[in-house]
């Protein structure tokens, strides 16, 4: 089935006139990436693969002498796209920028392996693929573990957030509460909303 979707790869069509930029449909790419993250959508991934894999291969070929290494960059990059799609944040940038980061990181670590014979993966420390917001000037920045992770766990999908929060914060997630009370999540959400609205009314709208 997958075979059928994958008429790969496309050679440069020749129809694109040289010097002219091919219009990259950023919104479409983002949608595919989100579908991969949220639905593990193979069809969407096939589209991403078709778009990115040949391009990544050419770039890798310019950096590595051996074909096998170039091919490894493609495999590793696309594999990270598949496995880490949930770390892509549509609001923070284009899908191309995110895939570029993934590709550059894979390339960097592989070059280190080739040149310095190191098996470390330092790239994600230099160029986080789940970029968190710029830390504010810290007058009150306590470095308690959970505070530090506060910004990164927001990057995680909801179900993973719960696991992390459940450990570091003794506060339930809405899902856990729903599970404990054996109620649909929607019910819990509307109850929380109502309770807060009521509280706000009692307090004269002073608190959020």
């Amino acid at each position: 089935m997958v075979q059928a979707q994958m008429n790969l790869p496309t050679k440069p069509s020749g129809v694109t006139s040289k010097g002219m930029k091919e219009q990259v449909d950023h919104r479409q790419l983002s949608q595919w990436l989100i579908a991969v993250a949220e639905q593990r959508d193979r069809q969407a991934f096939a589209c991403l693969f078709k778009f990115f894999a040949p391009k990544i291969l050419r770039i890798a070929q310019s950096k590595f002498n051996q074909e096998a290494q170039a091919s490894e960059v493609v495999q590793e990059t696309m594999s990270n796209v598949w496995r880490k799609a949930h770390l892509f944040d549509n609001a923070k940038g284009a899908a191309t920028t995110w895939v570029y980061t993934v590709m550059r990181n894979v390339t960097f670590d592989m070059l280190r392996k080739v040149q310095s014979n190191r098996e470390d993966t330092l790239s994600d420390d230099f160029w986080p693929i789940a970029e968190s917001v710029v830390a504010e000037e810290d007058t009150f920045s306590d470095h308690l573990e959970k505070d530090k992770i506060l910004s990164c766990i927001d990057e995680l999908p909801e179900n993973q957030q719960q696991v992390v929060k459940g450990f570091y914060f003794m506060e339930m997630s809405q899902e856990q509460l729903a599970k404990h009370l054996n109620l649909p999540l929607g019910t819990i959400k509307s109850r929380l909303r109502l309770a807060l609205a009521k509280l706000r009314a009692q307090l004269g709208g002073k608190h959020d």
Partner: protein
């Protein structure tokens, strides 16, 4: 009484327990001081939502400690009382200190129908949540104030909203708040 202050995004009412991971030198110093003296103060502070609580804080004592797999210090702290802070100073290690005086929280309340139902649902939560139960050293207190307080701490509600319930006169409000979230269905059947 002058105590070290630890600003954290944690809402903690009297008898509430939470686990902290300490590694920063200034807070290690705080723990050293706390074990020799009279605990420290957790000041509700949520950087993300720019919430700085000024009117109250939780005075805690360390009731347990351990190391995590990375050798970092874990401490369990229990809230002894709510306090008011004055004269906050910052020492050379960037640790804050404040003069602390206790303030009243809710007066003792007896169980009623609602709190008994809340107690049984809370007990279930404890039974299903081993880390939580362990942190409380399996000491579930079947008392109205305790049950409502723990529910408030556990509910996924903004800290700013929770903060309201530090007020000494907020018990009824708190009970209704928890009830409307946890017991909503039963209420409808009753009325």
């Amino acid at each position: 009484m002058n105590l070290p202050v630890f600003p954290l995004p944690i809402f903690l009412l009297p008898d509430g327990v939470t686990r902290l991971r300490i590694f920063e030198p200034r807070y290690l110093k705080m723990v050293r001081m706390a074990t020799q003296n009279q605990g420290f103060v957790v000041l509700l502070n949520d950087q993300k939502n720019k919430l700085f609580e000024k009117n109250w804080a939780s005075w805690v004592e360390i009731i347990n400690f351990d190391q995590d797999q990375d050798g970092l210090l874990l401490i369990d702290v229990k809230c002894k009382a709510l306090v008011k802070l004055a004269n906050i100073t910052v020492d050379e290690d960037k640790l804050r200190h404040a003069d602390v005086s206790t303030i009243n929280h809710w007066p003792i309340n007896e169980h009623d129908d609602t709190t008994e139902k809340l107690a049984s649902s809370l007990l279930e939560v404890f039974e299903q949540n081993e880390p939580l139960n362990a942190m409380y050293q399996a000491k579930f207190e079947d008392k109205a104030n305790w049950v409502v307080s723990r529910w408030l701490e556990l509910l996924p509600v903004k800290l700013a909203a929770k903060s309201v319930f530090a007020d000494a006169k907020s018990y009824e409000q708190a009970k209704q708040f928890v009830e409307s979230i946890v017991l909503n269905e039963q209420l409808k059947v009753k009325s």
